[in-house]
């Protein structure tokens, strides 16, 4: 048993309003540099939609993540993008690497023209110019080009997660004026079994042992770009100016000083939760060796109960500090993921064991009623699930590798909590009904109350339980800071400019 602590996250999608504040907060701090203009370590996508980079979920195309190989007795996880030998051939040319055209060409506007243009008949305009070449350009795409375009025939309909939907269901989904959509904010999942780390030929990518943050050592990175195609979430970006890859660093400089990462802090909807999860590293890769539909359950078997004395002992033996264990016990993530089991990983079928969990949105589901209004049809509380605007199949593709039972369980619980609170406030549901509903939803009044409290009215300390990391001190006590200077995400020992 190799107990490790992971700073993990829960995004409550019901609360996301798609305002992109998180993206901007991140951009302003981390990626506002030449070469990084097109990077969005945090972005918010509209679902159904193709996302950023376009169609990133299409792994037949990008070859990200792990593949389950071998027979029943000897199952192996293998990188989809490369094996050890052909990775050397891919140094010269990587056929799966997304190019600039898969993202967008970053641009600015020639604002000076507004002031400096000579007097003429027409209003002077600020024409877009490329941030790469400096030439005037046509804008063809942007980081959230398909924002709110859920009904679009180009973007929404090409969503790869809609593959299994029948033609009927699709048509129903994209019915004019009744489209439904959800927002999906994404940052790096800081996976427990990251494929990007495994793919890096130079060994520049690494996972921090004490908090599980995945980082790239810029001094070791040689720009072979294997990680870019290996990451199924396309959350590693290539800096064309420095020739190195970069990725979300979970604002570790803030985390280390007990502060909240930028995107978390700035979230308007307060959808984000951050806390420590204890997991068994020996089980991390093992638990990913099961059939797709069992993955969510299997992943949960790798997580540990922070209250179990045995686990605490093992964790301490492994160097996990008391602060971390305490944070794990208070962790909102543990509650969502393990206690209530209503937060699910995104695309667990990539088998990287992502450590960012989403509470699936209930609103688009509830939105479908016969006449477009909510009713309290008491006889069959959960009928709306079958007739959901956003089919369960679709959500299952996103959050449970196609296992609709899990989604249904989550939805029922969420709905039960909602009805429970409603019954308390409105008093329009009788107790027997309520109890029956709570049973069907798999919850209890106490739990429902707890869920409600953490979801709707949490304090900032409840949302973000950040342990005392004190990394500087521990670095100083174990390694010369001068030597370890380059071993952080973008903490480079040299300016990001290339000579020669």
């Amino acid at each position: 048993m190799d107990i490790r602590a992971q700073v993990s996250m829960v995004f409550h999608l019901d609360k996301c309003i798609g305002c992109h504040t998180c993206s901007i907060a991140c951009k302003n701090v981390w990626t506002d540099r030449p070469g990084a203009e097109y990077m969005w370590w945090n972005n918010v996508e509209t679902k159904p939609g193709t996302g950023f980079p376009t169609l990133w979920e299409d792994q037949s195309h990008y070859k990200g993540g792990w593949e389950l190989k071998g027979n029943d007795s000897n199952k192996k996880l293998q990188l989809k993008s490369q094996n050890k030998i052909d990775s050397f051939l891919k140094l010269f040319y990587n056929p799966n690497q997304p190019g600039l055209e898969d993202y967008y060409e970053p641009w600015t506007y020639n604002y000076a023209n507004l002031f400096e243009a000579e007097a003429g008949d027409d209003q002077p305009t600020a024409i877009p110019v490329s941030l790469i070449t400096g030439e005037p350009m046509e804008i063809e795409a942007g980081p959230n080009w398909d924002d709110d375009l859920s009904g679009s025939t180009l973007y929404a309909e090409n969503d790869i997660n809609l593959e299994e939907l029948s033609e009927e269901e699709r048509e129903q989904l994209f019915e004019i004026e009744r489209v439904s959509m959800m927002y999906l904010p994404r940052i790096c999942n800081h996976c427990a079994n990251p494929s990007c780390v495994a793919s890096c030929p130079s060994g520049a990518l690494y996972k921090r042992g004490e908090d599980g943050i995945v980082l790239i050592n810029q001094d070791v990175c040689r720009g072979w770009r294997a990680c870019i195609s290996a990451c199924p979430y396309k959350k590693i970006y290539y800096n064309w100016k420095t020739g190195k890859s970069e990725k979300c660093i979970l604002c570790y400089p803030k985390l280390e000083t007990g502060q909240i990462p930028n995107c978390f802090q700035s979230c308007v909807g307060r959808i984000r939760y951050l806390g420590v999860l204890l997991y068994d590293a020996d089980r991390a890769a093992e638990s990913m060796k099961v059939p797709d539909k069992a993955l969510v359950e299997s992943q949960r078997t790798a997580f540990c109960d922070p209250f179990d004395p045995k686990i605490i002992e093992a964790a301490k033996a492994n160097g996990i500090s008391d602060e971390f264990i305490k944070a794990a016990q208070l962790s909102p993530v543990y509650k969502y993921v393990m206690k209530w089991k209503i937060a699910l990983p995104l695309h667990i079928e990539y088998r990287t064991m992502p450590m960012l969990f989403y509470v699936p949105p209930l609103l688009p589901v509830m939105g479908k009623m016969a006449n477009g209004i909510y009713t309290n049809a008491m006889e069959n509380f959960f009928t709306s699930l079958d007739k959901s605007r956003l089919p369960m199949k679709y959500l299952a593709r996103l959050f449970s590798a196609g296992n609709e039972d899990i989604i249904e369980y989550v939805m029922k619980k969420l709905m039960a909590v909602r009805y429970y609170k409603r019954s308390l406030d409105m008093q329009d549901i009788d107790l027997v009904m309520m109890n029956k509903m709570m049973r069907e939803g798999g919850t209890t009044p106490a739990e429902a109350e707890e869920i409600y409290r953490l979801t709707a009215i949490p304090t900032i300390d409840q949302r973000f339980v950040i342990p005392e990391i004190q990394r500087e001190e521990s670095i100083e006590s174990s390694c010369n800071p001068e030597i370890c200077k380059g071993s952080c995400g973008i903490g480079i020992t040299q300016p990001p400019a290339r000579g020669f």
Binding site: S87, Y93, G209, R222, G319, R471, S478, C479, Q494
Partner: protein
């Protein structure tokens, strides 16, 4: 002069700059230590450029290195006609492949505005140089074909001579211009490695083959406990690497200087006729002197009388050495009485051979510890380390017919049968019977 500059100065300069520059750049600018991929900016042309180029040049370089490092093996390979033809064909094919790739890369770099945003003049120079180099190589395959065969007699010895710090241009200075330019370009190529994107040559991520898939860096107390020691182990490994490098390089240097010598030592010299003759003469002389020595011994075993000298040859001032019956040196003088005076030359101190020159006081000197012996009495001087006197030897004088004319025994008793005049023609002998008594 030009040749020296291009083929001796340039290579050393290039290799020196390459080694020092690369080490500097790896250590001080690890950030810039890659080739700055442009696939992100331009995806399509790169495949047709990069893949053929890298595939071709890697195999060609491998062949070049093989030819230079194992010239013997390479010569065996190329002496097989079929193999030679295959090597030539493959080499030419690969150079064409390289050319195709390079041209596409060049076009791509010159036409795509996005790529120009990350292009430096050095990149263009590198492409131009590589184009020239590969074109020269391909041209050699046409105009000086079977270079894979003739290189082992020309460029390989040249490179080895450079490696051994004994630059020898003779093997390449008469090569056609194409070949010489190819060599110069190669040195230029090495020269610019640390100053250009070519540095990525040394970034081959071989460790990827051996490392575990996940890479975890610890920085909590677990790190202190385990991974801190891993850091120390890393440090240790670095030390061991340095040690291996140092010892290996030292051993290499030593063997460069000595292996050849050691081999030649055991192989033995190959003497010229003249040297051999000289040596034989010396050997013969030594053998002859040994033979003389043995003859003397034999004579002393066999004959009763040993001739010392003719009486007329002896004088008072300078003695004549001879060997007595005990195989010890002795000196023969002429005494004041005109009769022979035979005295042992073995110093009674530590057995040195006493000198034969008589000084003004009628003494002879043992040079070892400076004892003066009076030749008349045999007594050493008072301060001498030698205490015992030198012994006198008995002698006889015989004429040609063997009749004894005079004799002296060990007690110093002299018997003389004829007059001085008659004695003058006699010869002095020592006698066995007399000696045996002592």
């Amino acid at each position: 002069m030009t040749n020296t500059l291009l083929f001796i100065v340039l290579p050393y300069l290039a290799v020196f700059a390459c080694v020092i520059g690369s080490i500097y750049r790896t250590r001080k600018e690890p950030m810039s230590y890659s080739s700055l991929s442009s696939q992100f900016l331009e995806n399509h042309g790169l495949m047709w450029g990069s893949l053929p180029w890298h595939l071709g040049i890697l195999l060609i370089l491998l062949a070049h290195i093989l030819a230079f490092v194992c010239p013997g093996f390479w010569q065996t390979l190329t002496s097989n006609q079929v193999l030679l033809l295959s090597i030539e064909a493959a080499g030419f094919g690969l150079s064409i492949l390289c050319l195709v790739g390079l041209v596409i890369l060049a076009i791509r770099r010159l036409t795509s505005p996005r790529i120009q945003a990350v292009t430096t003049p050095m990149d263009l120079f590198v492409i131009a140089l590589l184009l020239a180099q590969v074109a020269l190589g391909a041209a050699m395959a046409v105009h000086c074909k079977w270079g894979s065969a003739w290189c082992s007699g020309t460029t390989t010895p040249y490179l080895w001579s450079l490696l051994l710090f004994q630059p020898d241009l003779s093997t390449i200075e008469d090569l056609p211009l194409i070949a010489k330019s190819h060599i110069v370009c190669a040195w230029l190529f090495i020269l610019i490695i640390p100053f250009s994107r070519l540095i990525h040559l040394f970034a081959v991520p071989l460790e990827y083959l051996f490392r575990p898939p996940q890479n975890v860096v610890w920085n909590n107390s677990r790190k202190l406990k385990e991974e801190c020691s891993a850091f120390v182990a890393e440090d240790t490994r670095r030390h061991f690497l340095k040690a291996a490098l140092g010892i290996g390089f030292g051993a290499f240097l030593l063997s460069v200087g000595t292996l050849n010598k050691v081999f030649n030592f055991f192989f033995g010299p190959r003497l010229s006729k003249k040297e051999e003759t000289e040596l034989m003469e010396v050997k013969l002389a030594h053998l002859e002197s040994t033979v003389d020595q043995r003859k003397l011994e034999l004579e002393r075993q066999a004959s009763n009388y040993i001739m010392v000298a003719a009486l007329s040859e002896l004088n008072q001032s300078s003695g004549k050495y001879f060997i007595d019956y005990q195989m010890q040196p002795a000196i023969a003088f002429k005494g004041k009485d005109g009769l022979p005076l035979l005295i042992s030359a073995k110093c009674t101190h530590l057995g040195c051979t006493v000198g034969n020159k008589v000084d003004e006081q009628g003494r002879i000197l043992c040079p070892c510890h400076v004892s003066y012996f009076n030749i008349e009495t045999g007594q050493p001087n008072a301060e001498a380390p030698a205490k015992a006197p030198l012994g006198h030897l008995s002698w006889v004088i015989m004429d040609e017919r063997g009749s004894i004319l005079a004799s002296r025994n060990l007690e110093g008793k002299t018997a003389c049968s004829v007059n001085q005049q008659a004695l003058a023609n006699g010869k002095v002998y020592i006698a066995k019977s007399q000696e045996d008594k002592t």
